[in-house]
C-alpha cells in the first residue's frame, strides 16, 4: 500500500510515511475571545511537516487571529495548540494548561517565522541589519556567520544589491521579500504568512509569491492566509475555508476551489471570482 502511494506523494511528504505521528502544527478545539467577541470557536487543524496549508476566508473570519495564536502573539482561551509536538506557549497541567515563562516562549517563537501584511521591517536598521538582528541578538550567532547567512538569503530573494538600503527606500514588494529573508534567518521549521501580498500592487505581488513558491518547493512547512487563489491552487497542499471562527471546509485546493461543498464556501468563492477580474479586495 505504501508502495502505491510513492508515485503520487510529493517528495517533501515522503518523511510522513515513516514518521507519521507528529504533525508540525496541531490545533485542538482552540478558542480565542477578544472581550466578549469570540473569534475562534473551537478550531481543529493539523499541518504535516513539509506541507503548505492555505487559509482563505472573508475579512474578520479569524485568519490573522489563528496565525497570531500559533506563535503565541495572542493568548488562547481554551484548547491546545502544538507546534512540532510542543504545546505552544503553555505547559501541560492535566485539566488546564499553564502559560510558560517568557524565556521558554522566546525559544519556541524563534523556531517559527512570521510575515505580516505590512512588512514591519525595522525602519532604523538597514536591510542587512534587519536580517541579522535576531540571529545575532536572540540566537547569539557570531556576526560574521550571521552576515554570511543573511547575504545568502538576500541573494535568494533577489535583494543582494540593496544590503545597505533603509527599508523606507524599498518598494512594497522588496520590503516583503526582506521580511521573508529576515524570518528565514532564524532557520525556522515553520513559516506563517498573514496575507503577505494583500497590501501590494498585483505586479509586485508576483515577486513575493514566487519567493514563497520556491520556499514551498524546498519543503518548508507553511501556513498562508491569502486571497491569491492561483497561489492556493498551485502551491497549497491543502486549503481551509474559515468563516465565523471555525473551519467550514477543508481539502485539496483543486477540489475545494472548483467544487465547494458548503454554501458559505460557494458564496465566498463567487464573490472572490468577481473581484478577481475587477478591483482587488480590501485590506483584509
Amino acid at each position: 500500500m505504501a508502495a502505491a502511494a510513492w508515485g503520487f506523494m510529493p517528495v517533501r511528504n515522503v518523511a510522513r510515511l515513516f514518521v507519521p505521528a507528529m504533525p508540525m502544527v496541531r490545533a485542538e478545539d482552540v478558542h480565542k475571545r477578544y472581550g466578549r467577541l469570540e473569534v475562534l470557536k473551537g478550531l481543529h487543524l493539523e499541518v504535516a511537516a513539509g506541507e503548505v496549508l492555505c487559509i482563505i476566508g472573508t475579512c474578520g473570519s479569524g485568519k490573522s487571529t489563528l496565525l497570531r495564536c500559533i506563535n503565541h502573539l495572542e493568548r488562547i482561551d481554551g484548547g491546545r495548540l502544538y507546534v512540532d509536538g510542543e504545546l505552544m506557549g503553555y505547559r501541560e497541567g492535566g485539566d488546564c494548561i499553564y502559560e510558560i515563562r517568557q524565556r521558554d516562549l522566546c525559544r519556541q517563537r524563534a523556531g517559527v517565522g512570521m510575515v505580516f501584511e505590512r512588512s514591519n521591517l525595522f525602519p532604523h536598521l538597514t536591510v542587512l541589519e534587519n536580517v541579522i538582528e535576531a540571529p545575532v541578538h536572540v540566537k547569539h550567532e557570531p556576526k560574521a556567520a550571521a552576515i554570511e547567512h543573511a547575504r545568502a538569503l538576500l541573494k535568494r530573494v533577489g535583494l543582494l544589491d540593496r544590503l545597505d538600503a533603509y527599508p523606507g527606500r524599498l518598494s512594497g514588494g522588496q520590503q516583503q521579500r526582506v521580511a521573508i529573508a529576515r524570518a528565514l534567518a532564524m532557520r525556522p521549521k515553520l513559516m506563517l504568512f498573514d496575507e503577505p501580498t494583500s497590501a501590494l500592487d498585483p505586479e509586485v505581488a508576483g515577486e513575493v509569491l514566487s519567493v514563497m513558491r520556491g520556499l514551498a518547493h524546498e519543503g518548508m512547512t507553511m501556513i498562508v492566509a491569502t486571497h491569491e487563489m492561483a497561489f492556493v491552487r498551485d502551491v497549497g497542499d491543502e486549503v481551509v475555508f474559515m468563516d465565523g471562527g471555525v473551519i467550514v471546509e477543508s481539502g485539496n485546493p483543486r477540489d475545494v476551489l472548483l467544487h465547494p461543498q458548503h454554501e458559505r464556501t460557494k458564496a465566498f468563492l463567487q464573490v472572490g471570482a468577481s473581484l478577481a477580474d475587477g478591483s482587488r479586495s480590501g485590506p483584509c
Binding site: 497570531r68 506563535n71 517568557q102 524565556r103 525602519p123 538582528e133 541578538h137 533603509y166
Partner: protein, 268 residues
C-alpha cells in the same frame, strides 16, 4: 520686461519699527537706571567662585537628567504594562511629582532631617547634604516629566514593530531596547531637549537649600561686596550660555534623527 511688484505690507514695517523702538528704550533705561560696574561684573563673571557654581549647576543638571531618564523609562514601561497595580503606581507618581511645586519638593528633601532623623543606619544630615538633596529632588521631579515624554514616544511607534520583534523570538525587554526605544527617540528628543532646558534653569531653585549652584554662589557673595544685581546678571548670563549650548545640541540631534536612516517617513 514687466516688473513684478510684491504686495506692500505696511503692518510689517510698523511692527518692526515698534520692536526696534522698544529695544532702544530698554537699552537706554538699563544704561541710565543703575550704575552697573562693567569691569567689576566681568571680573565676577569668570571669578573662581562663579566658575565653581557653574560647575555644580552643570553636574546637578546632568545627574538629575540621568536619574530622570532612567526613572522615566521605568515609569513609562510600568504605565504601558498590563499590570493594574504597576499602571496605577506609575500614574500616582506622575500625579504627585507633577502636581506639586518643585520648590516645595526641594524644601522637603533639603529638610528631610526634620521628618526622619535617620535613614536606615545613617544620620539624615550626613547623608542628605544640600547637594545630594538637590540631585534627589531634581531627579525625581524630572522623572515624572520624562515618564510622560517617554510614554508618548513609545506609543508613537507602530505596534507592528513589537509584533515583528516578538515573532523573531526577542524578549520584550530586548525588543524595547533594540527596536522600540531607538524609534521612539525620534518623538522623544525634541520634548526631552525642552525639558532639559527647563531643568537647567530649575537648578537655580536649589539655592533655597544652599545647593551650591550658580545662584547659591551669587547669593553668598553679594552680602560681602553688595553688588547683588550684578551678581544676579552674571548668573543669568551663565544660564543663557548653558541653555544656548543645549539648544544647539538639540537642533543637531533632531536633524540627525530626522534625516537619512529613519526610513518610511524620511524624505529623499
Amino acid at each position: 520686461m514687466v516688473r513684478a511688484i510684491p504686495l506692500r505690507r505696511p503692518w510689517l514695517w510698523l511692527g518692526s519699527a515698534v520692536v526696534v523702538a522698544l529695544a532702544v528704550v530698554l537699552a537706554v533705561a538699563i544704561y541710565r537706571g543703575h550704575d552697573i560696574h562693567g569691569a567689576a561684573t566681568a571680573q565676577l563673571q569668570f571669578g573662581p567662585a562663579m566658575l565653581r557654581g557653574l560647575q555644580i549647576t552643570i553636574v546637578l543638571a546632568v545627574l538629575s537628567e540621568i536619574i530622570g531618564i532612567a526613572l522615566g523609562i521605568l515609569l513609562a514601561v510600568m504605565r504601558l504594562s498590563p499590570g493594574t497595580v504597576l499602571r496605577l503606581g506609575s500614574g500616582f507618581y506622575v500625579w504627585l511629582f507633577r502636581g506639586t511645586p518643585l520648590l516645595v519638593q526641594i524644601l522637603i528633601w533639603g529638610n528631610l532631617a526634620l521628618l526622619f532623623e535617620y535613614i536606615g543606619p545613617f544620620k539624615t544630615t550626613t547623608l542628605m547634604t544640600p547637594f545630594v538633596a538637590s540631585v534627589v529632588a531634581l531627579g525625581l521631579n524630572e522623572g515624572a516629566y520624562m515618564a510622560e515624554i517617554m510614554r508618548a514616544g513609545i506609543v508613537a511607534v507602530d505596534r507592528g514593530q513589537l509584533d515583528a520583534s516578538l515573532a523573531l523570538g526577542m524578549s520584550s525587554a530586548l525588543a524595547l531596547r533594540r527596536i522600540v526605544l531607538p524609534q521612539a527617540l525620534r518623538a522623544i528628543v525634541s520634548p526631552a531637549g525642552n525639558q532639559f532646558i527647563s531643568l537647567l534653569k530649575a537648578t537655580s531653585l536649589v539655592s533655597v537649600i544652599a545647593g551650591g549652584d550658580l545662584l547659591t554662589v551669587a547669593e553668598n557673595i553679594s552680602p560681602a561686596n553688595l553688588r547683588s544685581i550684578e551678581l544676579t546678571l552674571v548668573a543669568a548670563l551663565w544660564y543663557l550660555v548653558l541653555t544656548t549650548v543645549t539648544s544647539v545640541g538639540q537642533y543637531f540631534m533632531e536633524r540627525r534623527l530626522g534625516r537619512g536612516g529613519m526610513g518610511i517617513h524620511a524624505g529623499p
